[in-house]
């Protein structure tokens, strides 16, 4: 029971990071109708910027600065390259973002090298806290809290502010929004900024103690894909809920499913979400909360 509680908390903490990643994918998909395969590299860029910035700024300021810089870069990418891709086939945008990701990755290696870095934290990185009978890392709790706060803030921004209304309108129909006087271009750039900034926050918390920051951190985003797909590409809420489920599934299956599979179980938790996703999509091709599209051929 203690183990279950302990695993659930670390699963939720992992899920919270996945939720931030999924949120970035989902808002970008809703705004630009493209799936940003370079998102993982934004995440790793954010983490690397953070490791560099804490040397000159206090921790919390460095967090904001890293997020803002990463967001700025994402907005720049949107403005210079991806906005030209509006209306081009899905295929083209997939390739383009994949290769932009490769370029970003090379840029990160050039700027920060290939060494593995620890993510500095203002608290003791290995500090542990008692929750009931379970012992959990303080970092896990903080990342769970911080990411949840970011998620709530994002929700408030999208639902309650004029900017959020503009974002929702632009994702609904760009032409109608333009006709109503919404500066769709700027809204798109802002959406990408948000996606980049949340990716950086996710990267920073993912780089903390049990893990570390290296140039492969961006691959974590690949592991969040099942959540985005199962949650439904168009639904931000669905993606976030599915991301928490994914985090739980991954951690719990590592503890309870892997040992029963013998040799096959080694690292099985890393691919289990993908297997689950494939089976799930056979039953519901549009995901849990995806737009229901009636199409029979």
């Amino acid at each position: 029971m203690t183990q279950l509680l302990q695993l659930s908390i670390s699963g939720l903490a992992l899920g919270a990071s996945y939720a931030l990643i999924a949120l970035g994918f989902s808002v970008v998909y809703r705004a630009s109708r493209l799936f940003n395969f370079a998102h993982g590299e934004l995440l790793s860029l954010g983490a690397f910027l953070m490791t560099a910035l804490v040397d000159v700024l206090p921790w919390w300021l460095a967090l904001f600065a890293a997020a803002a810089l990463t967001g700025g870069l994402a907005a720049l990418l949107e403005r210079t390259v991806l906005r030209r891709m509006v209306g081009r086939p899905v295929f083209t945008t997939i390739i383009l973002t994949l290769f932009l990701g490769l370029l970003l990755r090379a840029g990160i290696v050039i700027a920060f090298g290939t060494d593995t870095r620890g993510m500095p934290t203002p608290w003791d990185a290995m500090a542990e806290v008692q929750v009931g009978n379970a012992t959990v890392l303080l970092s896990s709790l903080v990342s769970l809290g911080a990411t949840t706060a970011v998620l709530v803030l994002m929700h408030a921004l999208v639902q309650r502010t004029p900017l959020g209304v503009a974002m929702r309108a632009a994702s609904e129909s760009q032409e109608v929004s333009l006709a109503l006087g919404i500066p769709v271009g700027r809204v798109l750039a802002f959406t990408w900024f948000l996606a980049g900034a949340t990716a950086a926050v996710a990267g920073i918390f993912l780089g903390m103690f049990p893990r570390s920051v290296d140039s492969n951190l961006g691959y974590v985003a690949l592991r969040a894909f099942p959540a985005i797909i199962v949650g439904g590409l168009e639904s931000v809420v669905g993606a976030v809920v599915a991301a928490f489920m994914l985090g739980l599934l991954e951690v719990l299956s590592q503890a309870y499913v892997n040992p029963h599979l013998g040799a096959f179980g080694h690292n099985f938790h890393a691919v289990f979400p993908y297997a689950a996703m494939i089976l799930f999509l056979v039953l519901r091709p549009r995901g849990l909360w995806g737009e229901h599209e009636v199409r029979r051929v």
Binding site: F91, F99, A106, L222, F225, I229, F268, M277
Partner: protein, 362 residues
């Protein structure tokens, strides 16, 4: 002056080489292909062999993505299946390569059809992510049975002429032949094995493209609803595309394994390999066999060039040579996508149109 020959009969549309220029081009290509192994150095011969492997792999992806419009990130999985099939058949039972090669295609095709069945209801991005999942699952399965695949440390890929028990291991393809003044080293022998395979693949995909099954695939790609209304079975067309594509990908994987002689699961067979094949067909131009061939050749021959250029450029010097090649190729692919959506095929069309319309510019 007509800008293309007027096609009035179905037979004309079916012709492989409709005009004099096409015939001349085919003869020239054949001459270059036959002359290349005698003129190229050892290093460029290896590149040429990889180019032939890439042609088969890119043509395979072209059937699935270019003709049938099914975006797949799972190409690496099919190549891995083909590669490991020949490796296991050669190591465990000492099968000759010419028997293992089609079986590699068959194994890969079986998996491809099963995945195709799963993919019937998915489209676009959902399909891309599911096929990406296939890459991870394949990697996991290959690594989970080290007694068969030798796990992380990788496995050698023997290449026998005949069953091992009959002739002994001396009958491997690896040794050099001396036929009078002609020396046939391993790479050169491979080249003459790969050349007909690549040519056969090009011919096969060209036949798929101009037959009714290919037209069905293109109808599904362009508008599946309309295709179904017109009596095209979208299920059948999609499954055929997955079957043909994964069969050829399995062959390409087997060829790659023979060329490498020693394979591991990762690095070669990961998402990056899938991306490379997608880059090839994008570079060449999506939807044409010419695009697959030219893209595959451009990509494989640019990689060593990019490595040598990379040493001279200031910032990217500090990367490894493979990363340098990746960076320069990524720049090329991004530029092609932004500026010339139809790839090399589009450039070729533009040049041809210019000369056909000469001296007028329209």
């Amino acid at each position: 002056m007509p800008t293309r020959p007027l096609v009035i009969r179905y037979e004309d549309d079916l012709q492989l080489f409709p005009g004099l220029w096409h015939k001349a081009g085919a003869v020239l290509t054949l001459a270059v292909a036959l002359g290349y192994p005698w003129l190229a150095s050892e290093r460029w011969l290896t590149v040429g062999n990889l180019g032939l492997v890439a042609i088969v792999g890119a043509a395979a992806l072209m059937v699935l993505t270019g003709f049938a419009g099914q975006v797949s990130l799972g190409h690496a999985a099919f190549l891995a299946l083909g590669a490991y099939t020949v490796a296991v058949l050669g190591n465990k039972w000492g099968w000759p390569f010419w028997l293992a090669l089609p079986l590699a295609g068959a194994v890969s095709a079986c998996v491809g059809v099963v995945i195709g069945a799963f993919a019937l209801r998915l489209r676009g991005l959902y399909l891309a992510i599911v096929t990406l999942g296939l890459v991870f699952l394949t990697q996991h399965v290959l690594l989970a049975y080290p007694e068969v695949t030798n796990g992380l440390s990788g496995t050698s890929v023997p290449m026998y002429w005949w069953f091992r028990g009959d002739v002994g291991s001396a009958a491997s393809v690896g040794d050099t032949w001396q036929l009078g003044p002609v020396v046939l080293g391993f790479e050169r022998k491979l080249y003459f094995l790969f050349l007909p395979l690549a040519a056969g693949t090009v011919w096969l995909t060209k036949n798929v493209q101009r037959s009714n099954s290919g037209r069905a695939m293109m109808a599904v790609r362009d508008q599946d609803l309309a295709a179904e209304v017109l009596g095209v079975s979208t299920t059948q067309a999609r499954l055929q595309a997955f079957g043909v594509s994964s069969f050829l990908a399995g062959i390409a994987g087997a060829m790659f394994a023979f060329q490498q002689q020693y394979i591991t699961v990762e690095p070669p067979f990961d998402l990056n390999l899938s991306i490379q094949f997608i880059a090839m067909i994008v570079l060449g131009g999506v939807g044409s066999v010419f695009g697959a061939v030219s893209g595959a050749l451009a990509f494989t021959f640019l990689s060593p060039l990019a490595e040598s250029v990379g040493h001279a450029l200031p910032l990217i010097q500090q990367l490894t040579s493979a990363q340098q090649a990746t960076v320069l190729l990524s720049v090329v692919v991004v530029l092609v996508l932004v500026l010339e959506p139809m790839g090399l095929f589009g450039v070729w069309l533009r040049i041809r149109r210019y000369f056909q319309a000469w001296p007028f510019r329209y």
